[in-house]
């Protein structure tokens, strides 16, 4: 960035212009004064002392006071001029020395003496306090404006009637410290409009270059603005300078950068410094090598510049000025970092739709059509406009009914250039694809922001929209049916279903229990049946025997009576008859045909065991024997009876078994 050189203006335009006018104006009051640039100086600090003769006629000699405790660095330089004020003309001659103190302490310089019209006049004495170097820093040592001619530098623009101190700063006097001078006269500063603010609130930071020297400056390091969103304001090019008074001193001010900042986080944030590289053009005074004239008045009338006035491009060097050279001094400066406290936005009463907007906003929402088919797309345009962090706005949350497919909004910014506070609008275009036919309602679009002025959240909303969606031609649908890919669902099942309700489960129904219990019952019944049958099969012999016994007892019923009565003949006869009768009956042989041989054959034929046959014949023999050998023996009768019962029973069993086998 270029900084225009600060012009230096000459107070004394030209001695020659004035000369003609001197005589016709009446003389003014005579004054002889001593002034210093600063009454309090540092030990190593050069300062000016000026002796001014006003309206002194016929000045013939000038004697400066003895600078015992001071060292003359430069001078005397002489200045001469006149002014006309309210028709009164005044003339002056000034002699300026640049001196430096040798010791610390309070010194009084006696006034200078001059001879005017033959009278000796004396200027007022001045007291100077010399302190150790450093103590007087910051003290502006150019407190008194001293008109001084002959010094200037080329890039002077149009002369302006202003304080002359500006022009003086471009001059580097002998012994003057370059760094101190630069420090004093060039600095950069950052201005912020507030130091405490809310997250998202606007902060205006202005970086300014203050200068009193002609300088060619360029910004080498621009701040990064960590933690902020920055929006630069465009500055006029070439930069426009303005004047500003700082501590009573006038500076030329150039705005380097003006930025609107929006803090993105809370906490203490620091604005980075800006670094400016300056090339300051300083005019260096070289001590006049023409040492001959200590008396400035001799110089006055022996001006070397008169020899070749047009060689010198500078109109100023009329008199015997010290020679000047120009020096470009590089000087790097940076701003002091500025700390800003960022408060988080209040959590209380924060609306759901709040997305970080801070400022003052309005919302308009429009829908491009009210009626469409499922093949078409719908555009919902939401415009948020106002002042605040427009560049950081997030889209309002658009609650779309389930029948729509929503795509990410297209965002268009329309931010007013160089507006401060930042204002403009941001437009969100949502494309909605209706998926479902029918009347659909899009709920109101809601947008919330934080209003710093009222320190509260505000919500703005649009009205709800009603859209009529008609079914489209479904050409897309058909395609999908044939190409099932990973991201589309398969088509519906359209066949005929077996519409059976799943009632209760069979497993837990009583029917299931019954169905399971029934076979168990069947098994039980079968087992009972089987057991009974087994029992019967096991006891058939016994039962038959009992029957046989019964038959025998019945046959021997009469024999038993005879046995009781003791009629042994009748008993044996009856027993024998009963046995024969039984055999006749069982073997189906007529009673008359019975014989032992026949019986034996028949029994053998019926597979009756031999032993029974033997027993049978034994019994029959016994009976016959007893018949023919009467011998009353009750016991024997008893044994025979038992024998008879046994034989008949056994035969009965045997015959029965034989029968069942056959």
């Amino acid at each position: 960035m270029n900084v225009a050189t600060v012009s230096i203006r000459k107070f004394v335009l030209s001695l020659f212009f004035c000369l003609g006018a001197i005589t016709c104006l009446q003389a003014q009051e005579f004054r002889f004064t001593t002034t210093v640039s600063s009454n309090k100086v540092a030990l190593d600090e050069p300062f000016q002392i000026q002796f001014m003769l006003e309206n002194a006629p016929n000045v013939s000699s000038f004697t400066p006071p003895a600078f015992n405790d001071f060292e003359i660095l430069q001078g005397p330089s002489q200045m001469q001029g006149q002014s006309i004020m309210n028709g009164r003309r005044s003339e002056y001659i000034a002699l300026i020395y640049v001196i430096q103190a040798r010791r610390v302490g309070n010194f009084t310089l006696p006034g200078a003496t001059a001879r005017s019209n033959g009278n000796v006049v004396r200027s007022n004495p001045v007291t100077i306090e010399v302190v150790k170097s450093g103590a007087a820093r910051g003290n502006q040592n150019q407190q008194q404006a001293v008109p001084q001619g002959g010094n200037g530098y080329p890039p002077s623009r149009s002369p302006r009637s202003q304080s002359q101190q500006d022009e003086m700063e471009g001059v580097l006097k002998n012994g003057e410290d370059v760094n101190a001078k630069l420090k004093k006269n060039i600095f950069v500063k950052v201005d912020v409009d507030k130091t405490t603010l809310y997250e998202g609130e606007q902060l205006t930071a202005t970086y300014k270059l203050y200068t009193r020297l002609p300088t060619n400056s360029s910004v080498t390091k621009v701040p990064a603005f960590k933690g902020f969103s920055a929006k630069d304001i465009e500055l006029p090019n070439p930069p426009q300078a303005s004047d500003e008074m700082v501590n009573g001193v006038r500076y030329r001010v150039f705005t380097i950068r003006k930025t609107l900042l929006f803090p993105l986080q809370s906490g203490t944030l620091e604005l980075d410094p800006v670094e400016v590289d300056n090339h300051v053009r300083l005019v260096k005074m070289v001590k006049n090598n023409n040492k001959r004239a200590r008396d400035p008045f001799a110089d006055l009338f022996n001006d070397p510049s008169l020899k070749d006035p047009f060689d010198d491009p500078f109109f100023d060097d009329f008199f015997n000025r010290p020679e000047v050279t120009y020096e470009d001094v590089p000087y790097k400066i940076q701003t002091a970092p500025v700390k800003v406290t960022v408060k988080p936005l209040p959590v209380d009463n924060r609306p759901v739709s709040f997305t970080g907007a801070v400022g003052k906003f309005n919302l308009t929402a429009t829908l491009d059509k009210k009626e469409l088919t499922t093949d078409d797309a719908l555009t919902l345009k939401v415009v948020v406009s106002g002042q605040g962090n427009v560049n950081l706005l997030n889209g309002p949350k658009v609650e779309v009914p389930a029948g729509f497919e929503k795509y990410d909004p297209k965002v268009t910014d329309n931010i007013e250039k160089n507006s401060n506070p930042l204002s403009g609008s941001r437009q969100f275009e949502y494309v909605l694809m209706p998926q479902e036919a029918g009347d659909q309602t899009i709920p109101p679009v809601e947008f919330s922001y934080f209003d710093v002025a009222s320190n509260s959240y505000k919500t703005v909303r649009s009205e709800a929209f009603t859209v009529h969606v008609k079914p489209g031609k479904q050409t897309k649908r058909e395609k999908e049916d044939f190409s099932v890919n990973k991201n589309t669902i398969t088509s519906n099942y359209t066949g005929v279903l077996n519409w059976v309700k799943q009632g209760g489960y069979l497993l837990v129904s009583p029917l299931f229990c019954i169905l399971l219990l029934l076979p168990v019952l069947a098994v039980i019944v079968a087992i009972i049946y089987r057991r009974k049958k087994n029992y019967q099969q096991n006891n058939a012999a016994f039962l038959k025997h009992r029957y046989a016994n019964k038959v025998a007892l019945k046959r021997l019923e009469l024999a038993a009576r005879y046995l009781k009565e003791g009629k042994d003949k009748a008993f044996y006869e009856e027993t024998s008859r009963a046995v024969w009768g039984y055999l006749s009956n069982k073997l189906h042989v007529p009673f008359a045909d019975l014989s032992k041989q026949l019986i034996q054959d028949r029994l053998a034929q019926q597979q009756v065991s031999e032993q029974y046959t033997v027993k049978l014949f034994d019994l029959l023999d016994n009976c016959e024997m007893a018949l023919y050998t009467p011998m009353h023996n009750n016991d024997k009768m008893q044994v025979t009876y038992q024998q008879a019962v046994e034989v008949i029973s056994q035969l009965e069993d045997e015959l029965q078994r034989a029968k069942s086998v056959v």
Binding site: G403, Q435, E436, I489, Y493, L497, Y505, L507, L516, A526
Partner: protein, 252 residues
């Protein structure tokens, strides 16, 4: 006018079809038609009505899931697909659509694929319906008993064959009975659920004051491991557990 005419026409067509089709089939076709007209919410309501009547055909669940999916109710869609898969775990459409629907689920954690024996078990379990297993068990028991009774009553009638039949039938009966019980238990297990709320906060303990641990989004399938009156303890396939309001879960 044209609309009314077409409506009447379609009604006539429907009533004509109704002569052949049963009432639920008619309703089902109405749902399909609404679906084709892209009135997905209405279609889903029709299908859901049939489901509420007690019909549990996997195809019905599949169609309902599709309708909910198209109506952007991902939670309901996933629920219906899961229901279809619970009835027919090897339904390809339902498997595919479920995976598509799960793509919409925020924070979806893939289920581990089943191991071979788990697959075999699932295949076996779904070889018959629960009632099929029970019926089979009854038939086999009757067969076994018949053979046994034959053995008892007529021991001399081919005793070896009858014995073998009886033994085999009894073993098969026990198998069918246990499978029937397993199928019944798995069909009536409600220990899984789908998150229905769009964003649900999962808490560390079953009360309102306890701190939120993580969030679940609509459509996430969770295992319900414990429950109080209001809160259900859930666990996720990745091992996270927590409590959330039972009202947010639709149990499968």
């Amino acid at each position: 006018m044209k609309k009314i005419f077409s409506a009447i026409c379609s009604l006539l067509l429907l009533s004509h079809l109704a002569g052949a089709a049963s009432a639920p089939q008619q309703e089902f076709e109405k749902g399909n038609q609404l679906f084709n007209q892209k009135q997905y919410s209405e279609a889903a309501t029709v299908y859901q009505g049939l489901i509420d009547q007690g019909y549990e055909q996997p195809e019905l669940f599949l169609n309902a899931g599709n309708a909910w999916y198209k109506a952007n109710k991902t939670g309901m869609a996933i629920f219906n697909y899961e229901m279809a898969l619970a009835r027919d775990p090897f339904n390809k459409s339902a498997t595919h659509n479920l995976s598509v629907a799960n793509q919409r689920v925020e924070g979806y954690v893939n289920d581990l694929p089943l191991l071979f024996f788990q697959r075999w078990w699932l295949h076996t379990l779904h070889f018959h319906s629960p009632d099929g297993w029970a019926t089979g068990a009854v038939i086999l028991l009757w067969l076994a008993v018949a053979a046994f009774v034959t053995l008892l009553i007529a021991p001399s009638f081919r005793p070896v064959l009858v014995k073998w039949v009886s033994g085999a039938a009894l073993v098969l009966f026990l198998f069918y009975l246990s499978m029937g019980i397993s199928a019944y238990v798995s069909a009536n297990a409600h220990d899984e659920g789908i998150i229905m709320g769009s964003v649900v906060k999962v808490k560390a303990a079953p009360d309102d004051e306890s701190k939120d641990m993580f969030e679940l989004h609509e459509g996430v399938k969770v295992q319900v491991t414990d429950a109080t009156q209001e809160y259900c303890k859930i666990s996720l396939p990745d091992g996270k557990t927590g409590w959330l309001a039972c009202a947010e879960i639709k149990r499968l």
